[in-house]
Symmetry: none
Subunit: 169 residues, 2 copies
DNA sequence: TTGATTTCCATAAAATCCCATGCTAGGTTA
DNA sequence: TAACCTAGCATGGGATTTTATGGAAATCAA
């Protein structure tokens, strides 16, 4: 299955319309069970992330994976209800139109301070939508962290599994 | 499984098109589950490597291995999101055309300062794309390091595993 | 009815496809 | 063995399609 890869900065017009990068559309199409050629795929935008100023787009298939994880928590448990708030309450269905665009509702735009431009960032099974400057800041922060000590090596070393067992975080 | 071996310097034209060395194409074909004779293989170019002025090409199979390792880290963990940034956000799908070429988008060319020539360098399960002069510099640096003390011997000695146990780095 | 939203059409730039050429290495044939 | 053939390769140029984006018309909602 194809993954969300790459970055793209697109314009947001006065009506809140913005193009979804074409490669992302291909992934959304693959990830929508009801999609077929000539139809526009549906997907989900989550705006509940707290510690980062971005929206997150999920194909129907991947949001389903996440929802299934939540469903495994005990019904009515505090934890489950919080997760449902963050992932379900704070999210909307979106539909790509025939020009490859979506409309970002004002509420979502305000949430992440998007005005006239939006940066789309592929993250594998989801993608993020940032105000371009916020994204740049966030990248700088990450760069700094990575240069400190041996953080970069440490990060990559997380991929060195021994005995097929992931390192504990 | 065939590996990326050897070096080749090819021209980059005004449109950013450049031929993938034929032996590399064979490896990419083997590494694309959907490939068959007459079809052009897909693969992935990662441009997120910090501290090195090169792009990295992975067959679908090898990038998939990497992605699977990342997917085993906890969803939404800081570590996973950093790795997704480095490996997914900073990468693109590329498709070899029927003449054996790909298009290097301007952003990637700028990143590694590639202008009219590109050097392809086999690295086993991936290959690198360099601006030829940068590559030469990098090689010189490596040569210097290797001639200091007994660095070359030391390096090769890392291959002496005892009891199937890699030496500690 | 008036503001907001959705649908439809238009366009320029960019990405992709298609065809053509010169070259080289291998193999084939006289 | 020498001349020839052929297939694959690296590269160039033009035609075509897709993308991103702007604006107008149509529909909806308060």
């Amino acid at each position: 299955m194809r993954r969300f890869r790459g970055e793209a900065e697109n314009k947001v017009d006065a009506k809140g319309r913005v193009s979804i990068p074409a490669p992302f559309r291909r992934v959304l199409e693959e990830g929508d069970p009801d999609w077929s050629v000539g139809v526009s795929p549906n997907f989900v935008i989550v705006y509940g992330r707290r510690n980062s100023k971005c929206l997150e787009g999920y194909s129907l298939r991947s949001i389903n994976d996440v929802d299934n994880l939540v469903s495994r928590l005990p019904r009515y448990s505090k934890e489950r209800e919080i997760l449902e708030r963050l992932l379900n309450s704070q999210s909307i269905y979106a539909q790509v139109d025939e020009n490859g665009r979506i409309v970002l509702p004002p509420k979502l735009r305000e949430k992440v301070e998007i005005n006239s431009k939006a940066m789309f960032v592929g993250m594998g099974d989801k993608f993020q939508i940032w105000e371009p400057n916020s994204y740049q800041e966030d990248m700088l922060l990450m760069d700094q962290k990575l240069s400190e000590n041996n953080f970069e090596e440490e990060i990559y070393s997380l991929l060195d599994y021994k005995d097929n067992d992931p390192k504990k975080l």
